[in-house]
Amino acid sequence: MSGRGRYLLGKAAWAAVVVFVVISFNFFLFRVLPGDPAKAGARDPRLSPASIVALTERFGLDKPVFLNLEDGASPFDSQYFAYLGALSRGDLGMSYAFRDEPVADLLGEALVNTIWLILPAQVLAILFGTALGLLAAWRRGTALDVVSLTVSLFLWSLPTFFLAILLLVFGSSYLDLPTAGKVTIGAQYASFWEELGDILRHLAMPTLAFTLVLLGEYMLIMRSSVLDVFSEDYILTAKAKGLSTFRIIRDHAVRNAMLPMVTLIALNLAFTVSGAIQVEQVFSWPGIGDLTVEAISQRDYPVLQGAFILIAVAVVIANFVADLVYGWLDPRVTHA
């Protein structure tokens, strides 16, 4: 088997293992911790009696937790396996707070909104962060370097929610931008374009907040990575070969400098998640983060559980993608 195949297979297997462990961990977490929300949930007064019966049935709350060791019973007739079974059907249970709505539906809708927020911000932050980092490293010690370094460190130290609040105030007072939600409540749109325009107006400040938060970090990483690459011997070789500085950077430096970037972007995905939660809360953007915070204040455990699984799995997948990108960028890792 080729080195590349072995590498891919290994990474995919690892991602699968992590997802499985996360799912199991999630199950036990909600049962081991004090309060046992699963059982408490079935008594939640906000649920209709029919829902309670359905819930008890679906999650086998009257059954043993892990393995069913009663005579004649299947060992798999337990809460844990009922949970795995439900999960495999995409069934995450019912929300307590949102009047019996399936958690999966709630999360699905929120996920789309979160992607609206995260994707453009990530792309912008990566583009500007790497470009700035590259420039700062290349012109190390100049005013450009010092300024962008200072700004990046400041952005990095700024709590996301605080930056979001500042931008919210700024946007609403000076730019007349909306302060909450995805669309203007009660608005009637003449066309799709008008609706899109409204969404974009709502999205502007959250996206900016998120971009700025990520930008500082990416710039710092890229700068130090580029500085390392620029003092490598093969850069001297490229210079000795008579290549122009532009060609050296384009053909010899960028790809090598991106390697630590990819790893660190992946490692810092948790940071992205945390940022998304805060930005969504400040702007009441109806995404996963907003839903999670809402679930916390409502003690809506099924939603919390579902959000946790969704976030963890998304991060695992994003990590896997980062591994693929790394393998594509660096021939050394796929070498057996």
């Binding site: 690892w14 929610f161 001297l236 070789t237 008579g242 948790a270 946790f308 991060v315």
Partner: protein, 645 residues
């Protein structure tokens, strides 16, 4: 060329000692950060003295007390509960710092232990621990924190435990990679060879080496923990019984501070968080920088490597080369920046390179050989500068060309074979491409296909074979990489190839293969070769003429045959006496006492005089010029001065 930097720059400070910590605090970053943190800590300690009110005391509030604008009684106004913002702000420092320091301590202890064990043990335990670490690295911390705090309860202790225990993976990863690299250091191997047990090795060698970085990391972890705490508090998961900045913002934001226009309830707690986080980040970054100093300079800085005054004399007159001369170097002088001022690495070096000859450049480490040839191509390592002399190639003085003209000359006329071929080839590009690239840069019309065909032929010629055109450098063996480097150097059929210790670190047989290949191709293409080496045997076997360097100067220059038969300079004599000859195993070898001079400690007068057995009064005071001894032979020693009789 890390070797160049090591050999020429003054020695770096030891990793040991408190010096490093002080160095970190001397940097503006560390000073500012440390100061900011100190202010925060003092505020937290002295909170009861500083705060005008006790924010924990119950107050009766009327509607008029809420969101009062700043006044004499309330310098920062009041919040949503009618409490004095300034007092809450001052007391809030306590929570932030307690959470930050305790959580970071937990993280460092847990992560450090796991990291050291995983890194040092290897094997099953190591792999197992690392898998667990990798798992926790992938799980988004914030999600777990939220879930656990939401279920387990929002007490300060829970928050500290959650932040501390969930953050360890990053620390473990860092400590593990540090431990792994320390474990492979030679001094640890040595301790093991002595017969030391693991406990001893860990205590005496591994932990002292890892600890400083762990401490620097802890400082950074403090800032992360403070951010985490404020985030949790802001999303409503703070401990309701204590006052923290995150919570102040949460209450203010959710209870109408914005619509009330009460900026004083929002801005101060936000800035307080920024203050502490920025302070710790600056301090932590400064510590990391001080422990792991990066090269301050890099290869793509604006080219300031030549500081030679415009020559006024026509070239022919001030350079006395013969028609067969390809390259004439005159009075080359090179300096390096250092904290104590510029250091002369090459001083008044002159020599001619004739068409088709192989010239050996010989000397010990730090004598300026590598710096000289890099100087000829104006490729000095950052911080290096040519401060005088001329390098005539054809009708040009290479030191007078502008940078575009210089780019044209590089590689197409003068090329290099570097010492460490592993690092000299770009690891993420196929070897063949890197050869073809050089051809395309200098032969514009040749096209992609033409260049790659030529590159393929070259790889074939140096014994690699066209089949490995698309392979990456790491798949090549050491010998193969050096062959590839030779193919690369010859890609544009240059007039001059300069090879810098091309066979160091290669096995004897591979060494012989490479030297043979270089000589063969040199003959075939009629190139001139400058061979930089410390191996007198190699010089004797391959070079026509030899330039011996010592302390940045030319000590002696002669035909190879004459130099070995009748060395004139005492340094050459002693060097030959210290070199073993397999044909004369009975000869007793004698080293030269002392060691080659360091740039920052260059002797006065003749650089060799402290080690010279024949030194007399003139040697420490006067620099001997190269005395012409006829037939292209020169030696810089007063003992051979012609007038001396």
């Amino acid at each position: 060329m890390t070797a160049v930097v090591q050999a020429t720059a003054p020695p770096t400070a030891p990793i040991a000692g408190t010096r490093r910590w002080r160095a970190a605090l001397r940097r503006p970053m560390g000073l500012i950060g440390g100061g900011m943190l100190l202010v925060a800590v003092l505020t937290a300690i002295a909170a009861p003295l500083l705060a005008p009110y006790d924010p924990y005391a119950p107050v009766r509030v009327t509607i008029f007390d809420i969101f009062q604008a700043p006044s004499a009684a309330h310098p920062l106004g009041t919040d949503d509960g009618g409490k004095d913002v300034l007092s809450s702000l001052i007391y809030g420092a306590r929570v932030s710092l307690i959470v930050g320091f305790s959580a970071a301590t937990i993280t460092t202890v847990v992560g450090g232990l796991i990291g050291i064990v995983a890194g040092y043990r290897g094997g099953r335990i190591g792999i197992g621990l690392m898998s667990i670490t990798d798992f926790f690295l992938v799980i988004p911390e914030i999600a777990l924190q939220i879930v656990i705090v939401a279920i387990a309860g929002q007490s300060l202790v829970n928050i500290i435990l959650v932040i501390g225990l969930l953050g360890w993976a990053t620390t473990a990863r860092l400590v593990r990679s540090q431990t792994l690299s320390v474990r492979e250091r030679k001094f640890v191997h040595r301790a093991r060879a002595i017969g030391a047990r693991d406990a001893h090795i860990l205590r005496r060698h591994v932990v002292p080496a890892v600890l400083p970085l762990m401490i620097a990391n802890t400082v950074l972890v403090i800032s992360l923990a403070i951010l985490s705490e404020s985030t949790l508090a802001f999303i409503g998961l703070g401990d309701p019984t204590v006052i923290s900045w995150g919570q102040m913002l949460n209450f203010a934001f959710n209870r109408g501070a914005i619509s009330a226009g009460a900026w004083w309830a929002l801005i101060p707690p936000g800035l307080a968080i920024v203050w502490v986080v920025l302070g710790t980040t600056l301090l932590g970054t400064a510590l990391e920088d001080a422990l792991n100093p990066r090269l301050k300079r890099h290869h793509l800085e604006k080219d300031r490597s030549v500081a030679v005054p415009r020559s006024r004399l026509p070239l022919e007159r001030h350079v006395g080369g013969t028609p067969s001369t390809v390259l004439a170097v005159r009075d080359l002088a090179i300096e390096f920046d250092s904290p104590s001022g510029p250091l002369r690495a090459v001083d008044g070096v002159s020599f001619d390179l004739r068409r088709g000859e192989t010239l050996g450049l010989v000397g010990e480490s730090g004598c300026g050989k590598t710096t000289t040839i890099l100087g000829l191509l104006r490729l000095l390592p950052p911080g290096g500068r040519i401060v005088g002399g001329s390098v005539r190639y054809g009708d040009d003085d290479l030191l007078q060309l502008d940078s575009a003209e210089m780019r044209e000359v590089r590689w197409s006329r003068l090329s290099l074979v570097f010492q460490g071929a592993m690092n000299a080839l770009n690891p993420v590009r196929p070897v063949g491409d890197q050869v073809a690239e050089a051809i395309r840069v200098h032969e514009r019309g040749i096209g992609r296909r033409g260049a790659s065909r030529r590159a393929g032929e070259l790889l074939e010629r140096v014994g690699i074979g066209r089949g490995r055109y698309g392979d990456y450098p790491h798949t090549y063996s050491g010998g193969m990489r050096q062959r590839a480097m030779i193919a690369l150097a010859l890609a544009c059929r240059p007039d001059v190839v300069m090879a810098d210790e091309p066979t160091t670190a290669l096995d004897v047989m591979i060494q012989a293969q490479i030297l043979e290949l270089l000589a063969e191709l040199g003959r075939e293409m009629g190139m001139s070769v400058i061979l930089v080496t410390h191996d007198l045997g190699v010089v004797a076997q391959t070079c026509d003429r030899v330039v011996v360097m010592y302390g940045g100067r030319v000590a002696e220059e002669a035909d190879a045959a004459r130099l070995f038969a009748d060395p004139q300079h005492p340094y050459t004599q002693r060097l030959l006496a210290s070199f073993p000859d397999i044909a004369h195993p009975e000869r007793r070898l004698q080293g030269i006492p002392g060691s080659p001079p360091r740039l920052d400690d260059m002797p006065t007068g003749c650089p060799f005089h402290p080690r010279c057995p024949l030194a007399f009064e003139r040697c420490p005071t006067e620099v001997p010029p190269p005395f012409d001894l006829g037939d292209g032979r020169r030696a810089a020693c007063f003992l051979v001065e012609p007038d001396r009789g």
